[in-house]
């Protein structure tokens, strides 16, 4: 009996020390996040104004101006990326989960996995080679193209995983109603998992909203506002990079505020995603 309680005590001590260690480590893990947020808030909030969202940047040395061109540019780039990346990613995801396993599917899965791990600067280089060079110049198309390549594997993998969660007998229930396979898939199964698919799309959008490397030598940048899809276009990440490394105080302030806005948007996208996941469960 005595021995038992002794062991009991030891167990409690072990338990408590394990919990303490875990708490300390978890705290260490979230500290950077906390500092990033608070530092950005402190440095960036001062520059928040209507002008930040509506005005173009002013030339060096002049006070004021905003990042309207970068914000608009990012939205345009995201739209281009989505209009290629989402359908292609969805198609890949459906193919991965529905096609009978064979050489094609295995090759596709390998490609998608490899694509996920390709450094985004390399994707930028690729877009430079296949879009910028033939078009003889930086353009919104090139930037959107590069971002869409970042999106494809994310959308494909999440779509595949969501579809795999649907039990095969649900599928068979559709077949048993006398419906062809493609109709069951497109009209009964996929609509049923749209929340999950949306989640993947939002995550991919959040990811590419912050991508800088693939844009550096594809979309490049401009400080005049939108000039057409065949022209260089500004984006939040690239603009932040340019301004943060400048020696102009107004520009550096814009960079901080831009970073705050960018983090906020990405954060929001992640929150919406979480909400969708929670609701699905």
């Amino acid at each position: 009996m005595k021995e038992l309680s002794l062991r009991d005590g030891r167990r409690k001590v072990l338990n408590w020390s394990a919990i303490t260690v875990l708490c300390v480590l978890s705290f260490l893990a979230i500290t950077p996040l906390f500092f990033i947020f608070s530092y950005l808030a402190v440095r960036g909030a001062g520059g928040l104004s209507l002008a930040f969202f509506t005005e173009l940047p002013k030339p060096v040395g002049e006070i004021g101006g905003g990042m309207a061109n970068a914000i608009g540019g990012s939205l345009i780039l995201l739209s281009i990326a989505s209009s290629f990346g989402i359908p292609i990613g969805l198609a890949c995801g459906v193919a991965l989960s529905e096609l009978k396993v064979g050489v094609t599917v295995r090759a596709l899965r390998l490609s998608v996995d490899l694509l996920t791990s390709v450094p985004s600067i390399v994707i930028g280089l690729f877009a430079y080679a296949v879009v910028v060079v033939p078009m003889r110049g930086y353009s919104a198309w090139a930037g959107g193209f590069a971002l869409s390549i970042v999106m494809i594997p994310i959308v494909a993998r999440s779509t595949e995983e969501i579809l795999r969660l649907v039990p095969s007998h649900v599928y068979e229930a559709g077949l048993a109603l006398g419906l062809p396979r493609w109709k069951v898939l497109l009209r009964l199964i996929i609509p049923g998992v749209r929340a999950g698919v949306t989640t993947g799309i939002l995550l991919a959008s959040a990811r590419v909203s912050g991508e800088t490397a693939p844009l550096l030598f594809t979309a490049f940048s401009n400080s005049f506002g939108f000039r057409g899809l065949n022209q260089p276009i500004a984006s939040l990440p690239v603009q932040i990079f340019t301004y943060a490394t400048s020696h102009d105080d107004t520009w550096r302030q814009l960079a901080w505020t831009g970073a705050l806005v960018l983090v906020f948007v990405v954060f929001l996208l992640n929150l919406v995603t979480r909400f969708l996941i929670r609701r699905r469960e």
């Binding site: 007998h169 559709g174 077949l175 048993a176 109603l177 006398g178 062809p180 109709k183 009964l188």
Partner: protein, 259 residues
């Protein structure tokens, strides 16, 4: 028994998973408006057998079928395994209810019931509404859900979901309804409700029901077939199978000595 009374007849029906021969040359006939029970220990091929009757077996990788299955329709008898026969058209005549309730996720109760018709091109709202009401009434679910047809099918209880699946299958007006242990995932009350409704369905469709519950077979079926290791040991009127089985293996099974 004249030919016109036969609803479904199998002739030397065999099925394989790869090299594994799981249904061995089964021949049996089911009359119109029978409730036909298939009993036997688990793994004896009951599910595989009924999945051959709506050509669902062949959807599995490496699965294969041999033999004939005749179903009688408006234009006489048709072999569903005849060359050129279209599985999609066959399945519209032979509905199926699965072991686990499986409403389409994310679809409302209404949309679940009309899924088969709507995707086959029926668009008229009034037609769909009528089908929903009659099907749900047949499935004894109408009074419980008539005020929440827009709610997701998955929001219902397990027993209600299974009745929703029955309504969904009935909505395309099949001549034959296959049920694979439809109550094995349900509580006793839900089970009783489904048994009742199956007995009432007799007048509408021919029912083949797999069950591992012998009391259930005795309660609701008029014909029973006993399967063992992929073979049909014996079949006949339920009352006879349960009181005077001809084969000692049947007797051993129904008296609970194995299985």
């Amino acid at each position: 028994m004249t030919d016109s009374e036969i609803s479904l007849r199998t002739e030397g029906l065999s099925a394989w998973f790869g090299d594994h021969h799981v249904v061995k040359s089964i021949s049996l006939s089911v009359s119109r408006n029978d409730v036909y029970a298939l009993i036997g220990p688990s793994g004896c091929g009951k599910s595989t057998f009924i999945r051959c009757l709506n050509r669902l077996h062949e959807e599995i990788d490496g699965a294969r079928v041999q033999g004939d299955v005749w179903i009688s329709g408006d234009s006489g008898s048709e072999n569903i395994y005849a060359p050129g026969s279209d599985p999609v058209a066959i399945r519209r005549q032979v509905g199926m209810v699965f072991q686990k309730p499986n409403p389409f996720p994310g679809l409302s109760i209404f949309d679940n019931v009309v899924a088969g018709l709507r995707l086959a091109g029926v668009k008229r709202r009034s037609v769909l509404e009528e089908v929903v009401e009659t099907s749900l009434k047949h499935a004894a679910l109408w009074t419980e859900v008539k005020d929440k047809l827009k709610k997701p099918g998955t929001s219902l209880s397990g027993g209600q979901q299974q009745r929703l699946c029955i309504a969904r299958a009935l909505a395309v007006r099949p001549k034959i309804l296959l049920m694979d242990e439809p109550t094995s995932a349900l509580d006793p009350i839900s089970t009783a409700r489904i048994e009742e409704l199956v007995m009432r369905l007799r007048s509408e469709v021919t029912v083949l029901i797999v069950t591992h519950n012998m009391q259930q077979a005795a309660r609701i079926s008029n014909q029973t077939a006993f399967f063992l290791m992929g073979e049909l040991v014996e079949s006949g009127p339920t009352s006879r199978i349960f009181t005077k089985p001809k084969d000692t293996r049947t007797e051993q099974y129904i008296t609970g000595r194995f299985g």
